[in-house]
């Protein structure tokens, strides 16, 4: 390339760059203004004021000093609640596994007996997923009374929604070749599902179940806030009695329980996959 030609190419590209840059800056300004507007509006709607936060700092500090140090002697009263929390999570997850296998097969396009069944199942699962387990727990506490039973059912329903949807999507994503091979042998539809689809889904299903169990533990720690058993109940009870040092112990135990369950579940999942 000759020198003048080179210079004009460079000048052209630089001009184009300036144009693109201006447009981009304008666009960025527009989006920033939009986002700022949305955030400002929502902030005023929910009464978010930095001043309120600053004014609240002494109260937070006060609350913290009342919490700390945790009353470690209270720990012995929490052993039972901790075990109950784990038990709720275990049975909640187990029931969810039992419910979600048939629901997943009904809710996957390639295994459902009818397209209407597919849509109905998916809608039902979405409803289960959308409603927080605490909402279920509240309703069940009214229906079957206070206690861990309501918590188990609440976790089971919510987890079924999650687990079945995940499993259905996995079933839809299976490798076609294996399914075709099975059909080619003349296997019935049920046989194809049993030997062609399910074996492919199992590792992911187990891994997700373990993940779900971890989430269930987390949920089970707060179900007690609405009277559905576990550590959350001790938490809210000690708070209502203004025994904040004991509340702090509850929070500490919840923290440790979640940490341990997180660690164990991560290890288990690494072994499954």
């Amino acid at each position: 390339m000759t020198a003048p030609a080179f210079d004009s190419v460079v000048a052209g590209a630089l001009r184009e760059e300036a144009g693109i840059r201006n447009r981009r800056v304008l666009k960025a300004c527009g989006w920033t203004a939009f986002a700022a507007g949305v955030l400002y509006f929502t902030a005023t709607q929910i009464g978010m004021k930095p001043a309120a936060l600053v004014a609240g700092l002494p109260f937070m500090w006060d609350f913290l000093t009342r919490l700390l140090p945790p009353d470690l002697t209270y720990f012995q009263y929490l052993v039972g609640a901790t075990i109950e929390t784990v038990q709720i999570a275990i049975w909640g997850t187990l029931l969810a596994v039992l419910f979600s296998v048939p629901l997943a097969l009904l809710g996957a396009r390639n295994t459902t007996p009818h397209i209407l069944v597919f849509h109905a199942t998916r809608m039902f699962l979405n409803a289960l997923r959308s409603i927080n387990e605490l909402v279920f727990a509240l309703i069940f506490v009214s229906a079957v009374g206070l206690g861990p039973f309501a918590g188990v059912l609440a976790i089971a329903l919510h987890a079924t929604g999650m687990l079945a949807k995940f499993c259905a999507e996995e079933a839809e994503g299976v490798e076609k070749g294996q399914v075709e091979a099975m059909q080619a042998t003349g296997a019935s539809k049920l046989q194809v599902i049993l030997f062609g689809v399910i074996p492919q889904v199992i590792p992911a299903f187990i891994s997700y179940t373990i993940y779900r169990f971890d989430v269930s533990i987390r949920s089970a720690t707060v179900l007690g806030l609405v009277g559905a058993g576990g550590l959350g109940f001790s938490l809210i009870k000690t708070m209502k009695l203004f025994k904040y040092h004991e509340t702090a112990t509850c929070i500490l135990v919840i923290f440790l329980l979640v940490l341990v369950s997180d660690w164990i579940c991560a290890k288990l999942r690494a072994r499954v996959l």
Binding site: V9, V10, A13
Partner: protein, 264 residues
């Protein structure tokens, strides 16, 4: 640029360079190389010979265990050497191009200017006009200015490598280190890329060190060749001296050498 065959000045001198990695792998053993100002030097050797480690010692992405490197008479391996100043003078081109795929070609080239600019200005992803001019000029040198505003991942491999060359050029370096620049490209594109590198070396007087493992490209492009095998220099000369005997020396390996390969 005059290409008079006057007595060449030494650009880089590598003396007694050794590198042993933490696991005990000896990648370089007492390497001595003199590189002339403005030359196109090919370092030839099989993978695992220590070529990549040698290059990374030059811009100190890897710290050598022993030995010294002098650039224009100054020791760059001394602990007092400012890394930012050092790396600015060495442009680097990689086998896998190493462009940031989701940003534009021009921005990728502009990152070659980062070492000249303060971190605070970078915070706003803005560059001075002068840098943009340099970047566009570098792109025009490798005939990629027409794709300046495309995302890097829309380009073919050869185009990405040309952009990577432009990025190295944008540093206004004294030396370009090309680490297997054509190993991921097909032969036609590979020759094109090597041509660009050679042309840059000739026109701008930039010293180019180029790692290659293919003998035919070396014969075609090298002005001078350094042959490496198992961490040591086994040959130094011009490409016409690459006889079968020399190649045997470079590529021969003991049967027990296989495990060296995956370490590099």
């Amino acid at each position: 640029m005059d290409n008079q065959p006057t007595a060449p000045r030494t650009a880089l001198s590598i003396r007694g360079l050794s590198k042993t990695y933490k696991g005990g792998l000896e990648a370089l053993r007492d390497v001595n190389i003199e590189v002339n100002e403005g030359e196109f030097l090919v370092i030839l050797g099989p993978s695992g010979a220590g070529k990549s480690t040698l290059m990374r010692c030059l811009n100190r992405l890897v710290e050598p265990t022993a030995g010294a490197i002098f650039h224009q008479g100054r020791e760059i391996t001394s602990p007092k050497q400012n890394l930012r100043d050092l790396r600015r003078q060495f442009g680097m081109v990689f086998q896998q191009f190493n462009l940031v795929k989701r940003v534009s070609v021009l921005t990728n080239v502009l990152t070659g200017r980062l070492a000249y600019r303060s971190a605070w200005r970078s915070l706003f992803y803005s560059f001075p006009q002068a840098d943009k001019r340099i970047a566009v000029e570098c792109l025009a040198r490798v005939n990629m200015e027409h794709k300046a505003f495309q995302r890097a991942d829309t380009l073919s491999g050869g185009e990405q490598q040309r952009v990577a060359i432009a990025r190295a050029l944008a540093q206004q370096p004294a030396v370009i280190l090309a680490d297997e620049p054509v190993a991921s490209l097909d032969p036609k594109i590979a020759r094109q890329v090597l041509n660009y590198l050679k042309q840059i070396s000739r026109e701008l007087g930039i010293t180019v060190l180029c790692n290659l493992h293919q003998v035919e490209y070396t014969r075609e492009f090298a002005e001078r060749v350094v042959g490496m095998s198992r961490g040591t220099v086994v040959f130094e000369g011009v490409s016409s001296q690459l006889t079968d005997e020399v190649l045997h020396r470079i590529y021969y390996r003991d049967p027990g050498d296989a495990d060296r390969e995956d370490a590099e």
